[in-house]
Amino acid sequence: MIENYAILPCNGLDKCAGAISRETAIKLCENAKNEIICPVFYRVAEAKYNKIAGEHPLLVIDGCQTRCASKLATEKNLKVSKKITITEEAKIHNIELKSNLRLLKNENALIEIILNGLNSAEEKAASSSDKTNASYNFEYETYQKDKFLFRVPKNPEIYFNENDCWAYVIGNRARIGVTDFVQQNLSDILYFTPPEIGAEIEQFGEVGEIESSKSVIDIISPVSGKVVSINETLIEKPELINENPYELGWIAELELTDFDSDKELLVGFDKYFEIMKKKLEDLNA
């Protein structure tokens, strides 16, 4: 269920989609403890809303493709956690929007569908994510080569293999992904093939594949275990791996089977940073 969110709807009054966006926001606040950010009032009461937005995850509801609410969020430097666009939702659910500003049967039905969708997506996310899904607090060391930046997270819970993949280990679970070395070398990643959920992976086994126009690589798992979840967002948006392969661009989560033994062949930040630098120097040779 969507709860404890700050909600920024478009509230536009020149299209039906704007009215729906407004009503969706109101419903979300009636049913649970969420706070609305009024886009109009935001212009004059910035401090108030900055505080709300800073303390809660932000859901942005855009009415149409002009995406005024999203733009307002960008302008105010807000971090958006979730985003929906009413016209897109209408298209997906085959509901035709007319020019009426009052909500009728169709519009109310759409709002119900959207609310259900938002709430069930939230529940799914909550159940699939364990402790590993807790907010990131990675600290990075950066190596610059030409204009390219290569970040490596320094947290002690993060282990690397020499195949440029990382594992963030908490308890009996690990979230895994590739490093900046991989994403910079591949350049724009166009396709992501995830591993199968439930698959048993041995250490250094393959957990999916990523491909750019330059090359295709296997993701080589630093740890052994069973795949319990994958980053589904990457199927539509593999470019998130380029954006940040350690956070939004993570690949999969594994339930560990023998981490003590896996650890023998993994390195921590210090060692990996050196390995990566050497690889980058070798690229010149």
Partner: protein, 149 residues
């Protein structure tokens, strides 16, 4: 001596031939020049706040290549990264009339004559690069890179 590394930031202006020529000449220098390592900086990314581009232009010598005398690339680079180390104005090399030609902008439409203009501009960019004193930047090189954009 350390290898000299220079950033080239080109206007790529969409409205007239000057932009097409500045873009192509910059690409040519990047691809064919061997005595220094050039890095093309992406102007739109630079303008959108791209950290990699802006940081590079702050540390390394940078040359702006502009298609017309509005000098957008030069002005922007100065605005966000401080001074620039060289400036090439395509309209001065191929003439205002050519630079402001709005009929030919697609690369598929370029004629032999246009390609000669590209060569001319490329050689001016190389001159500007050569004019930079490498000694003042020694020790700040990272070597060529085969990855990324």
């Amino acid at each position: 001596m350390d290898e000299l590394k220079v950033g080239v930031i080109s206007c790529s202006g969409e409205e007239c031939l000057g932009g097409t020529i500045s873009r192509l000449a910059t690409r040519k220098v990047l691809e064919e020049l061997s005595f220094v390592s050039t890095v093309t900086l992406c102007l739109p990314l630079y303008l959108a706040g791209g950290k990699e581009e802006r940081d590079f232009a702050k540390v390394f010598p940078t040359i702006a290549v502009d298609g017309c005398d509005k000098l957008c690339a030069k002005r922007s680079t100065e605005k966000y990264s401080g001074k620039i180390n060289g400036s090439v104005d395509v309209s001065k090399i191929i003439g205002n009339e050519n630079a402001l030609n709005t009929d030919t902008v697609l690369i598929k439409d370029l004629t032999e004559e246009h390609l000669q203009m590209v060569d001319k501009v490329a050689s001016e960019i190389i001159k500007a690069i050569s004019a930079i004193n490498p000694d003042s930047y020694s020790g700040k090189t990272f070597g060529g890179c085969s990855c990324g954009s």
